[in-house]
Amino acid sequence: MARPRSRLSALRPTARFRAQLARAGVVVLVVVGIFGTLTLAFGISVLQYALGGMVISSIVIVAAIGLTVLYGIRGFANFAYGDIATLGGYVALVLTFGGISLVLGAIITFLLLAAFGVFLEFAVFSRLEGRGVVAPLVASVGVGLIIQNGIRAVAGTQKWLYPVTLGQDFVIVPGLGIHPIRGILTLSVGVILVVAAHVLLKYTNLGKAMRATADNLELAKATGIDTRRVTYAAWAVSCSFASIAGVLLGLGSALSPTVGFESLLLIFAAVIVGGIGSPYGAMLGGLLVGMSQEMSVPVLVWLERPDVLGLQFGANYKVAVPFIILILVLIFRPWGIAGRKPVFAPRAFFLERITRSLRERPVSSEAVAADREAGKS
């Protein structure tokens, strides 16, 4: 006898979603617990650093989504990506100097840079299809050099500020403040773009085609996806996300010709930590990399004390943190923390090799001979 189904059963979450919800709850609890403990132990400044980390992370996440979409579909590391972000920042700067408000300017920049990405694929990178991973990488460095030094030659090496009034920090609790533009605006733009990327990838035909192409180019072609169009779309998405990241970077401090190139390492670390070609991994990786970079500052400042290590300018070493994370991920999980282990995974170098050599019996010539005998009989 069938149980009578309630009217609301259609809205009851599925088992899988409940499990995901539970997992997310555990993660949130753990994070809140860690920060709560740290705050109790070291004071409110920990939360201030965490907030700064969130802001940096949202920029890194926006940039990393753009980079990883292109990386997954086009299959090469775009070293010009940081400079494309810088270009976006400067285009928005020119537009605001032309009398347009920054928001409108950023939207126009978004569209202009999308067109620029399509142009790049058309003019340069489509000619390098099927030439391995290194040839397009070299070409992208060339593109980056042209953009970076073109900006230097035209706009000079000095720093530029957007003509917006920045205002004062908005104080939440004494000792914990957030800047209305550098903090709140950046965070909300980051959230909006993450949601936009999610909607694009999950709920549109283009997004499905993009994911399919990133997963398996040949199979996507075989199912009738126009992979050329998908490639152009990926360039447009990638470069437009880069431009927004560039504008946010310029808002965060100031625009300089190397502002994008300097954060390139952070973005690459986020992409690799998340697993190349996976936008959701890039979000997670961006959060991890950005947070750990900012949260390392108090530790480094502590190391500056003469009775500890006597490090000089400790806070400047925070840029080494993404490098360390990158190397650790390359050693232990080259396919990324969110990615699945591929069937033909590269062998982990240290641990696996040692354990395997302990587990396997040594191969001697007698053993080989014995195997051969066994095979014959």
Partner: protein
């Protein structure tokens, strides 16, 4: 040989030399000639000119060593290194710390004038160089360990990360590296006194560098022809097949990468000694890495001779641009104009060379025709400035347009890709000269600054064009046929 020479003839005729080598060496010669002429215009003494040229040659040698290291990694083994500047930096700093005398911090009142740096061990030069090679090679091995078993782009990202991080660490770790000021007094190999000191120093460095480069070329050529070098090339062509033949490809890749890194460390040590001071800002910027890529790709990857030639060519461009910038910065507008004219002359010379080759019409020049070509190019050097002095500038431009159009028609008629490339190169050189003249007219102050950046933009454009249209470089790798 008659005009009906077969197109796919022998690469080198008896008594002649191949065209590509001819083009490369005449370009390097052109760079040297322009440098000398500009120095003469600026009123330098013969010794001053020689010192300047010696500087060019010794830094070009350093870049050659870098390019040889990168060629060992990428050209032979196919491992792409995006952090050349990092290994170069390690070599330079390790060598400098090892061979300088102690440098305590200098404090005047409360102000730290110079923060001092680690060490000052006053070791002999050879020990310093060896330490630099070991340190850079070790760093290369450590970075390569996790990244080598992955795809090529992982290695590129990891090495780039190392280079960027090292530059920042060097800038901040004041008590080890002297911070942004750097290490100021690296002793030269032989200490000279008196007015000729810089001249004698330059000559010494050219001698030492030349010896090192020659030895390296011989050793690397020997190694690349050995069974070990054959395995490296096999790894590049098909790693799975090499594994199937029972070779431990990981170990070979690691060896090649570490050796290449050690060579970059050697280049760093030479740099420290040549310049006598180190600072982290421009000498070890990522742009160094990209220049070395261009050098190897221009010369021809997988070819030691190509790496060396590419270094002399591309660093020559940089050196010339510094010369022109100095002329512009010195405020002597006439000198500057003359420099621009020289660029135009180089363009005209290259164009004449292309046309001559078109009419000669073969891949291999015999010695007589080669001399004729050299005469044509030198004639252009003399004739173009003279013509520019006698004719109004607008007429000269019209003349060039006519010449260019003529060349274009010839090119179309003959359908030769080589000639087209040559004409475009000539037009670029000519255009650079014209751009300088225009810039000088329009924005006299902008020239000196923008010069440097325009050079890097040219390098970027070269990277793109080369990788798309001529990935094998000017001097391509020798084809090896199994017998």
């Amino acid at each position: 040989m008659t005009a009906a020479a077969p197109k796919k003839g022998p690469a080198v005729e008896p008594g002649g030399f191949p065209l590509n080598e001819f083009i490369v060496f005449s370009l390097i010669g052109g760079i040297v000639v322009i440098g000398i002429i500009s120095a003469v215009i600026a009123g330098a003494t013969p010794k001053g000119i020689l010192t300047n040229l010696g500087f060019y040659v010794s830094v070009a040698i350093i870049f050659s060593v870098l390019a040889l290291g990168f060629n060992l990694q990428w050209g032979y083994t196919g491992l792409f290194n995006a952090g050349i500047a990092g290994f170069y930096l390690i070599g330079a700093y390790v060598a400098a710390i090892a061979i300088t005398s102690p440098a305590p911090p200098i404090v005047v009142g409360d102000v730290v004038v110079y923060p001092g740096h680690l060490g000052g061990f006053s070791l002999p030069l050879v020990v310093g160089v060896l330490l630099a090679m070991v340190a850079a090679g070790g760093a290369a091995a450590v970075v390569a360990l996790p990244a080598l078993r992955l795809r090529a782009d992982y290695l590129a990202i990891a090495t780039l990360a190392l280079a960027v991080t090292l530059q920042i660490v060097t800038r901040n770790a004041q008590n080890i590296t002297g911070g942004a000021i750097g290490i100021t007094s690296v002793p030269p190999p032989i200490l000279f006194q008196g007015t000729d000191a810089s001249f004698l120093n330059a000559i010494t460095m050219v001698g030492i560098g030349g010896f090192v480069l020659f030895a390296l070329l011989v050793i690397l050529q020997f190694m690349s022809e050995s069974p070990w070098g054959r395995v490296l090339r096999d790894v590049r062509e098909d790693e799975e097949a090499t594994m199937a033949l029972g070779k431990n490809t990981f170990s070979y890749k690691l060896q090649a990468f570490a050796l290449g890194g050690a060579l970059m460390g050697l280049a760093g040590a030479l740099y420290a000694v040549t310049l006598g001071y180190l600072s982290p800002e421009s000498s070890f910027a990522p742009a160094v890495t990209f220049s070395v890529w261009v050098m190897v790709i221009v010369g021809g990857s997988g070819n030691n001779r190509g790496a060396f030639v590419g270094a002399f060519l591309i660093y020559g461009m940089e050196w010339l641009s510094v010369q022109v910038r100095d002329q512009a910065a010195s405020g002597l507008a006439a000198n500057y104009l003359l420099m621009s004219v020289l660029f135009i002359a180089l363009g005209v010379g290259a164009l004449l060379a292309v046309l001559a080759v078109q009419f000669v019409g073969r891949r291999v020049l015999d010695r007589r025709r080669a001399w004729l070509l050299i005469a044509a190019i030198l004639g252009a050097f003399g004739a173009a400035p003279a013509a520019l002095g006698a004719l109004p500038i607008g007429w000269c431009f019209a003349l060039f347009v006519l010449l260019f159009g003529f060349a274009f028609v010839v090119d179309r008629a003959k359908k030769s890709r080589r000639a087209r490339a040559g004409i475009y190169a000539a037009a670029t050189l000519y255009g650079v000269g014209w751009a300088f003249i225009l810039l000088q007219q329009l924005a006299p102050n902008a020239v000196a600054d923008s010069f440097f950046y325009i050079r890097l933009m040219i390098i970027g454009a070269l990277l793109i064009l080369l990788i798309i249209f001529r990935p094998e470089g000017i001097l391509r790798e020798k084809k090896r046929v199994l017998r």
